[in-house]
C-alpha cells in the first residue's frame, strides 16, 4: 500500500435543505489516478469543488500531507498544491493565453508594480512547448482558440506548477479523441511524477481504462471504492444506480398502438443557426421522444413549438388548423412547455411557489378581471399537493427548493393549466432517482388520459424507456425515427446522432 497523500474526513455540503454531499470520507494515495463516478447530482462536482476551494465546506475537513487544507479560493488551493480543471470553460476571454496560464500568479513577473509581459509570454511559450502544444501562441488572445485548445491551455494552467493533486472534472466530453489522448498522456505523466489525479467522467469505459481505482458516489454519499482492474462497467453501473433501478422505472408496455388522431403538426420549422426544416406530427396520447447530441437543435424544437424562439419560420398547427405564433397563443391553445433551463425559463426563481403555479393560469383564475388571493392560494395548494412538492408552504420561494422539487413546481403549474400538449425539455436533468420515477409515472398517467407529450432528452435510456416514437436529430435536421420496440437499442440511436 502506498502513502496516503490526501484524506477527506466526514465532508458534507448543503445547499439550503438539499444535502449535495453527505458525510463523505475518502483517502487518496500518492501517485494514483482515482476515478470519481456517479449519476448527475450525485455530488461528484460538489465534492471536488470543496477540495479546490470553489465552494466552502458545510462540515468535515480535508487533510493534505498531514496538514489540514483550508482554502477559500482556487488561487489559495493552487498554492497548497491542489489544482482543478473544471467542467465548464475555466479560462477568461479577452486576455492572452499567457495571462490565462498565470492568472492569480502574476507576482513572479512583477517588479516594482510593473508587469513584464515579455517575460511572462516567454515563460508561457516554454511551458506550451514542454507540453507539446506548439500550435498555441502564448501572446495571442485566447478567443482565437477553439474550445478544445482552451481546454489544453487549462491543462497547462492547472499542472505547470507540479501540484500534488490534480482534479479533472468531466473535461473529456468537450474533447475530441486526439484531445483526449493528450489528456490521458498528461494524467499518466502526473502519476509518474508521484502526484495524484482525481478523474471525473461519465464515460465508464474511459474511467476503467485510465484509472487505478474508482470511487462511486450516489445521492451525495460514498458507496464504494473499487480497483479498476477488478471491476466491470456493469459493476460500476450497479453501484451508481443502486437497487432502485430494478423496479418499475420506465414504461414496461410494448406494442400498444397509438391513436391515429393528430393533435399537432409541425411543418418546415426553422430557426436560423439552430434548426432547419423540421416537420413531424404528434398524435393523441403519444409520448414522442426527441434525442441527439446536446447541440443538435432538439432543445430549440421545443422552444420553437412554444413560439418562444427568436426569428422562427414555418408552421406549428393544431388539429383544428389554429397556428401557434406567440407564447400566450401557445398557452391558451393548451400547449405547455417545461424548458431545460429550469431556473431562468421554466420558473421565476425569486418568487413564491404560489405565484409560479398560478402565472400561466391567471386568465382562468380571474373572475371578470378580478383575482382573489383566496382562490389563488387554493389553486396553488391543490396543484402543489398533486405533485407532492416538499415545501414549508406555498409562500416559500422557489429559489430555496432542490432541483427535483423545482421540477415538481414546473409540473404543478402545467397540470393546473390542464394542457393537452406538453413539451418537456430534459425533464429529469439533475434530478434524483426518486423524483425521476415520479416524473415517469406522471408522464404515463398523462398519456393514459389522452394527453400528448413531447419529451426532449439527452439521456438515451430515458428515450428508449418512455417514448412511443423517437425522433433523432443531427445538426439541426431530423436524421432518424424509431418506433417503440424492445429490439431498438442504444447503438441504433447513437448511430443516427453522430
Amino acid at each position: 500500500m502506498r502513502e496516503i497523500v490526501l484524506q477527506a474526513e466526514n465532508v458534507s455540503k448543503s445547499f439550503g435543505i438539499t444535502k449535495a454531499v453527505n458525510n463523505v470520507s475518502l483517502s487518496f494515495e500518492k501517485g494514483e489516478i482515482r476515478g470519481l463516478i456517479g449519476e448527475n447530482g450525485s455530488g461528484k462536482s460538489t465534492f471536488v469543488s470543496m477540495l479546490a476551494g470553489i465552494h466552502p465546506r458545510s462540515e468535515g475537513r480535508f487533510i493534505l500531507e498531514g496538514k489540514e487544507l483550508k482554502v477559500r479560493n482556487q488561487v489559495e488551493a493552487n498554492r497548497r498544491g491542489v489544482a482543478i480543471i473544471v467542467q465548464e470553460t475555466g479560462t477568461l476571454p479577452a486576455i492572452t493565453v499567457a495571462d490565462n496560464i498565470f492568472l492569480g500568479n502574476e507576482d513572479q513577473f512583477v517588479t516594482f508594480g510593473i508587469k513584464k509581459t515579455g517575460a511572462m509570454n516567454r515563460a508561457a511559450s516554454l511551458l506550451l512547448e514542454k507540453y507539446g502544444f506548439d500550435h498555441i501562441n502564448a501572446s495571442s488572445m485566447i478567443d482565437l482558440y477553439s474550445f478544445e485548445d482552451r481546454k489544453l491551455i487549462e491543462i497547462v494552467k492547472a499542472t505547470y506548477f507540479n501540484p500534488k493533486i490534480v482534479i479533472i472534472d468531466e473535461t473529456t466530453t468537450a474533447l475530441s479523441q486526439k484531445g483526449r489522448e493528450e489528456l490521458y498522456k498528461h494524467m499518466l505523466r502526473i502519476k509518474n511524477e508521484g502526484n495524484t489525479v482525481i478523474f471525473i467522467s461519465h464515460d465508464l469505459s474511459e474511467v476503467l481504462e485510465h484509472t487505478d481505482s474508482i470511487s462511486v458516489l450516489r445521492d451525495g454519499e460514498l458507496i464504494d471504492t473499487v480497483k479498476s482492474s477488478e471491476a466491470t462497467e456493469d459493476d460500476l453501473k450497479r453501484l451508481m444506480v443502486g437497487r432502485e433501478l430494478k423496479k418499475h422505472y420506465y414504461r414496461t408496455d410494448y406494442g400498444q398502438p397509438v391513436s391515429d388522431e393528430v393533435v399537432l403538426s409541425v411543418e418546415d420549422l426553422s430557426v436560423p443557426g439552430e434548426i432547419d426544416g423540421i416537420s413531424f406530427e404528434l398524435h393523441k396520447g403519444e409520448i414522442l421522444g426527441f434525442g441527439g447530441l446536446s447541440n443538435c437543435g432538439m432543445h430549440e424544437v421545443g422552444k420553437a413549438i412554444f413560439a418562444a424562439s427568436f426569428d422562427r419560420n414555418g408552421y406549428v398547427k393544431l388539429a383544428d388548423g389554429t397556428t401557434i405564433n406567440s407564447v400566450p397563443g401557445a398557452i391558451n391553445n393548451s400547449i405547455a412547455y417545461a424548458s431545460k433551463d429550469r431556473d431562468n425559463e421554466s420558473l421565476v426563481s425569486s418568487a413564491s411557489i404560489r405565484d409560479n403555479i398560478c402565472l400561466p393560469s391567471l386568465s382562468e383564475l380571474a373572475d371578470k378581471g378580478i383575482i382573489r388571493a383566496k382562490k389563488m392560494n387554493k389553486f396553488a395548494q391543490k396543484n402543489a399537493d398533486v405533485v407532492s412538492i416538499k415545501m414549508t408552504g406555498i409562500d416559500q420561494f422557489v429559489s430555496d427548493l432542490s432541483g427535483g422539487n423545482k421540477q415538481r413546481v414546473v409540473l404543478a403549474r402545467w397540470l393546473g393549466k390542464d394542457s393537452d400538449i406538453i413539451v418537456l425539455d430534459s425533464p429529469t436533468r439533475g434530478i434524483d432517482v426518486k423524483v425521476k420515477a415520479d416524473i415517469y409515472e406522471m408522464m404515463s398517467e398523462l398519456k393514459d388520459k389522452g394527453k400528448s407529450i413531447i419529451m426532449i432528452s439527452e439521456e438515451i435510456q430515458e428515450l428508449l424507456g418512455m417514448s412511443d416514437r423517437i425522433i433523432i436529430m443531427k445538426k439541426g435536421k431530423i436524421s432518424g425515427e424509431f418506433m417503440r420496440d424492445e429490439t431498438v437499442g442504444e447503438e441504433d440511436l447513437i448511430g443516427k446522432m453522430v
Binding site: F306, A308, V327, P328, A330, I331, N332, Y337, S339, N344, E345, S346, L347, V348, S349, S350, A351, S352, D355, C358, L359, P360, L362, S363, A366, G369, I370, I371, R372, M376, D395, F397, S399, R413
Partner: protein, 331 residues
C-alpha cells in the same frame, strides 16, 4: 505583509457578512413590511424630541403634507416601474413639461388642462417605454437621456420668463382637494394592483423576465405600458404642482426622480423589484422622506448638511436592505 493583507481582508469580510446577515434577517416573513413602519415611527419620535414637539403641531403637519402629495402620486407610477426591475429618472422632467402644458391650457379650461397634463406625461412615458422595449436599452439609460431632453424643453419654454398659470388655479391648492386626489390615485392603483393580474404579472417580470415570458405574460407590452402609466400618473401630479406654485420655472420638478427613488427605498422597496415589493412601500416611504426633509430643516441644519445626512441615510438603508442573492443589473 501578506498576513497584514489577510487581516484586512478578514475585517472587510466581517463587515460584508454583517450586512448580508442583516439582509437575510430581513427575509423573515413580515419583517420587510414591519421595518419601514418602525423606521417611520422612530423618525417621528426623534424629530419630535429634537424640535421640542414642533414637528407634530398642525402647522408643521400641514407643511409636511403639502410636500407629500406630488411625491406620493409620482411614487405610485415609479413603484410599478421599479417592481418590474426598472428605474425612471425622467420623472422630474415629466413633472416640469406637464406643468408647463397645464399652465398654458389653464387659461382655456381646467379639465382640459388636467387631461393634457396626463397626456403629456403619458407621451414622455411612452417615449421611454419605446426606447427601452423596442430598442432594448436599459431603462436607467433611456430615462437619464429623456431627463436631459425634456429638462431642455422646459428650459427652452421658460427662457424669457416663468410660465404662469391662470391666477385662479391656486384655488385648487386646498388640503382637502390634495388629500382626496392623492388618496384616489393610491386607492385606484391599489385596487388594480391587488385584485387584477397586474400585480402578480409585474412582480413576475421583476423577479425573472424570461420565465415570465415563458409563462405567457406579454412582457414587452406590459413594460411599455408601465412606463407610459408612470408618465401619465406624474402628468396628473403636475396639476397639483401647478395649483401649488402658480408659475413654472426651468428647474420646476427637478430632483423629483431622486426624491422618489429615496422615498421608495426608505419605504422598504427592494431596489431590484420583484416578488418582495409591497404597496405600503409607497405610503410609508413618501411620508418618511417628507418628515426627514422637514425635520432636518426644522432642526436648523443648512442645506449642505441636510444633503449630507440624506445621502448617508440612503446609503445605509440600501446597504442594509438590498437582496444580495439576486444582485442583477437593473433593467
Amino acid at each position: 505583509m501578506t498576513e497584514q493583507r489577510l487581516a484586512v481582508k478578514n475585517r472587510v469580510g466581517k463587515y460584508k457578512s454583517f450586512f448580508s446577515n442583516v439582509g437575510s434577517f430581513l427575509d423573515k416573513p413580515g419583517f420587510r413590511t414591519l421595518l419601514p413602519l418602525t423606521g417611520l415611527i422612530v423618525m417621528i419620535v426623534i424629530f419630535a424630541h429634537l424640535t421640542d414637539m414642533r414637528i407634530i403641531q398642525t402647522r408643521s403637519i400641514n407643511l409636511i403634507l403639502s410636500q407629500v402629495y406630488v411625491l406620493m402620486i409620482a411614487c405610485t407610477g415609479v413603484f410599478m416601474v421599479m417592481t418590474i426591475g426598472g428605474l425612471d429618472f425622467s420623472q422630474g422632467s415629466i413633472l416640469g413639461v406637464s406643468s408647463i402644458v397645464i399652465s398654458y391650457l389653464s387659461f382655456y379650461s381646467i379639465p382640459l388642462a388636467i387631461v393634457a397634463g396626463i397626456a403629456t406625461g403619458a407621451f414622455i412615458g411612452a417615449f421611454n417605454g419605446l426606447f427601452h422595449v423596442v430598442f432594448t436599452i436599459p431603462s436607467f439609460i433611456v430615462t437619464i437621456c429623456s431627463m436631459f431632453l425634456f429638462r431642455g424643453i422646459c428650459a427652452y419654454l421658460t427662457t424669457d420668463a416663468p410660465v404662469a398659470a391662470v391666477t385662479g388655479i391656486t384655488a385648487y391648492h386646498s388640503t382637502w382637494i390634495n388629500i382626496s386626489l392623492t388618496l384616489s390615485v393610491l386607492l385606484i392603483s391599489f385596487l388594480i394592483y391587488q385584485f387584477t393580474r397586474l400585480g402578480i404579472t409585474l412582480k413576475a417580470i421583476g423577479a425573472g423576465e424570461t420565465a415570465a415570458r415563458f409563462s405567457g405574460i406579454r412582457t414587452k407590452k406590459t413594460k411599455f405600458l408601465v412606463f407610459m402609466a408612470a408618465g401619465a400618473i406624474t402628468g396628473f401630479a403636475a396639476f397639483l404642482n401647478v395649483a401649488k406654485v402658480g408659475s413654472i420655472t426651468a428647474t420646476s420638478g427637478s430632483q423629483l426622480e431622486a426624491q422618489i427613488l429615496i422615498a421608495l427605498v426608505l419605504g422598504g422597496m427592494p431596489i431590484m423589484g420583484g416578488a418582495k415589493v409591497r404597496f405600503s412601500n409607497i405610503i410609508v416611504g413618501a411620508l418618511m422622506f417628507a418628515i426627514l426633509h422637514n425635520g432636518l430643516v426644522m432642526v436648523g441644519l443648512d442645506s449642505a448638511q441636510q444633503q449630507l445626512i440624506k445621502g448617508i441615510v440612503f446609503v445605509l438603508v440600501v446597504a442594509l436592505t438590498i437582496d444580495r442573492r439576486q444582485l442583477l443589473v437593473i433593467k
